[in-house]
């Protein structure tokens, strides 16, 4: 399988009043065609910045650098604004966390879906409408024809997220980047939306970069996993490798926090890793996790060594077991 997306040495710097915030630090990963990569990590570790950097949608105060950033054979690092804009919504789409506000309140669902299609594929309004109705059916919205004429405020959060997924699919993308697509939804709806994404992936074959802070989600959908901490990827591998034999103490801590049905009583506080993430302004020397790590040693003051074992990679002084 050839990679649809190759990221090597991605850096995102944000200029903030306190100085330069290194939100993404030397991040590298690959996504194969049709594969699901989950990027997981605590709030503020740079997941969204990574996603926005891929899409070229970083905020104005951000700067992106990368040794290699190749999507579908196109060098994104060297692509012009227009080239990137032509890819967005067409070959690569993005789904966001907040379905309640991600659709424009002033236009109908149909108008917004068709707008994307006609921007990239041209064609008649009728063809765009037909495609929109077809996809609304695919994302499980009944009476698609009627929904097309409705405004976002007439739809529930779950339905809006389905519309967003349909919008992402309008031009048959090779990659969808979904940034916490279920976090803002009810638990029951979360499961439905995740299943929907997987089903659509089986049907349309696009690759999926799914961002989440919920390892339970990862366990259900991921082919491979990248664990981020303080802007950097600390462990990466197939889902089987990472879940069966987590190598980085941070990953192991996250896995211990997953609620287990039957074992966790309702209302019981879930395990959490004690301590807080280091500030991302300025340079971090040594292992960023060491203030919270039970295995920390003096050696952890230096940059931790990289280990690789059959596609399973991690950065820690602790080598293979």
């Amino acid at each position: 399988m050839s990679a649809i997306l190759t990221v090597e040495g991605l850096e995102v710097d944000l200029s903030v009043p306190a100085g330069t915030l290194h939100a993404v630090r030397d991040v590298s990963f690959e996504v194969a065609r049709g594969e699901t990569l989950c990027i997981v990590g605590e709030s503020g570790c740079g997941k969204s910045m990574t996603a926005l950097a891929l899409m070229g949608l970083l905020p104005r105060n951000a700067r992106r650098r990368a040794r290699r950033l190749v999507f579908d054979g196109i060098d994104l690092a060297a692509a012009s604004r227009t080239q990137t804009n032509d890819l967005r919504g067409s070959r690569m789409s993005m789904i966001f966390q907040e379905p309640m506000t991600a659709l424009n309140p002033a236009y109908t669902i149909g108008n917004q879906l068709c707008g994307v299609y006609r921007r990239h594929k041209g064609g008649s309004a009728a063809a765009a409408r037909e495609r929109a109705a077809f996809l609304l059916g695919k994302v499980g919205i009944a009476a698609a024809g009627e929904r097309l004429g409705q405004y976002p405020h007439q739809l529930s959060g779950g339905l809006r997220q389905r519309v967003m997924i349909a919008m992402a699919l309008m031009c048959d993308p090779a990659l969808i980047v979904a940034d916490e697509p279920t976090t803002a939804l009810d638990v029951t709806i979360q499961a439905q939306i995740l299943k929907l994404l997987k089903d659509l992936q089986d049907e349309f074959g696009m690759a999926l970069v799914l961002i989440t802070h919920d390892l339970g989600v990862v366990a259900r959908v991921a082919d491979s996993v990248a664990v981020m901490y303080a802007g950097a990827i600390v462990e990466r591998g197939t889902a089987a490798q990472v879940f069966a034999a987590p190598r980085h103490p941070y990953t192991a801590g996250l896995i211990d926090c997953i609620p287990v049905p039957g074992r966790t009583k309702p209302g019981e506080r879930l395990g959490a890793i004690p301590g807080t993430v280091p500030a991302l302004v300025g340079n971090i020397t040594g292992c960023a996790f060491r203030s919270r790590c039970a295995h920390a040693q003096a050696r952890c003051e230096d940059a931790p060594p990289q280990h690789a074992e059959g596609g399973h990679e991690w950065a820690c002084i602790r080598g293979a077991a």
Partner: protein, 305 residues
């Protein structure tokens, strides 16, 4: 949308009725109509005679009902000062004021829309500050002084535009600029603030993520939502310009409603004052109604209210 429009129209009519009653009563309380009709230096028995003859001794509610009936038939009475039909008098002056008010608001929008949008796209940069400076220039100078500067430049030095009168559209150019430029900063600030907010909105990020063109992102997705408060301001400003353009009307000798209102109040011309007040408030109510309809068209969420 239609049901919404009908409900709003009914409300507008009710408000118009209430305003007409209130203004009728207030005006009657502000002075003695009989004395005004009888004229300066009239004797007490003359005034009493007038009061009886004109039916001014009847209860206020009866007088109001009579006035309302006449008004609805288009009869606004006879002017005490001009001695002519008030309807004809007002119909004569209204177009001048309407044209001036409308063209001023349009001019203000024409100035403030591009400046506000540009400023919002480049916030806190020199572009932003330049746009604000350009917009605020009109407000920094007193209205009449700015008007005089315009006359000096365009009429006296360049001889491009007529100084005063209402003969051609050229006569309206300077008054429009003077009035419109004066209200432009308020529009510009509102458009800038609205655009900064909508450009940062999630749905604009969605539009960008969909690869839509920058023009579509700014004009289709951001501007429409940013315009909603601007419409309400435009209605208020237009109402203000219709009633408050008296300084400019005087400077450019535009014989409009503002000037008429000024004269009728000075000469205690009750029927005329009453008619002008009624007309301005009806226009104002109509503007608010229109703003509601335009906003409901811009923002579908408002249509249920």
């Amino acid at each position: 949308m239609l049901g919404f429009a009908v409900r709003r129209l009914a409300l507008a009519l009710a408000v118009a009725l209430a305003v007409s009653a209130a203004s009728f009563v207030l005006l009657r309380l502000s002075g003695d109509v009989a004395a005004a009709i009888a004229g300066e230096g009239a004797r007490a028995e003359d005034i009493a005679f007038v009061r009886k003859a004109y039916g001014l001794d009847r209860p206020l509610i009866v007088q109001y009902a009579e006035w309302l009936g006449n008004t609805l038939r288009g009869d606004l009475g006879t002017s005490l000062y001009f001695k002519t039909d008030v309807s004809a008098l007002v119909a004569d002056k209204l177009p001048v004021t309407l044209i001036l008010g409308l063209s001023s608001v349009l001019f203000a929008l024409a100035v403030s829309l591009p400046l506000g949008i540009l400023a919002a796209i480049f916030p806190n940069t020199w572009i932003d500050r330049l746009c604000l400076a350009l917009a605020v220039l009109g407000q920094a100078l007193p209205n009449f002084f700015f008007a005089l500067c315009l006359i000096l430049l365009f009429s006296i030095s360049l001889r491009w535009l007529p100084v005063s009168g209402t003969g051609t559209w050229l006569h309206f150019v300077m008054p429009t600029i003077a009035l419109g430029y004066y209200v432009a900063p308020a529009f510009m600030r509102l458009i800038r603030a609205g655009m900064i907010e909508t450009l940062a909105a999630d749905y604009v990020r969605t539009a960008r993520a969909s690869g839509l063109s920058p023009a579509s992102v700014v004009f289709k997705h951001a501007l429409r939502n940013a315009l909603i408060p601007v419409v309400a301001l435009a209605a208020v400003q237009l109402g203000f310009l219709l009633g408050g353009s008296i300084v400019i009307e005087t400077i450019f000798a535009l014989d409009g409603l503002g000037y008429l209102a000024y004269q009728s109040i000075t000469y205690k011309d009750f029927p005329t004052t009453q008619a002008v007040v009624l007309l301005l408030s009806v226009v104002y109510i109509f503007l608010t109604f229109t703003a509601d309809i335009v906003n409901a068209w811009l923002d579908p969420r408002l249509r249920v209210a």
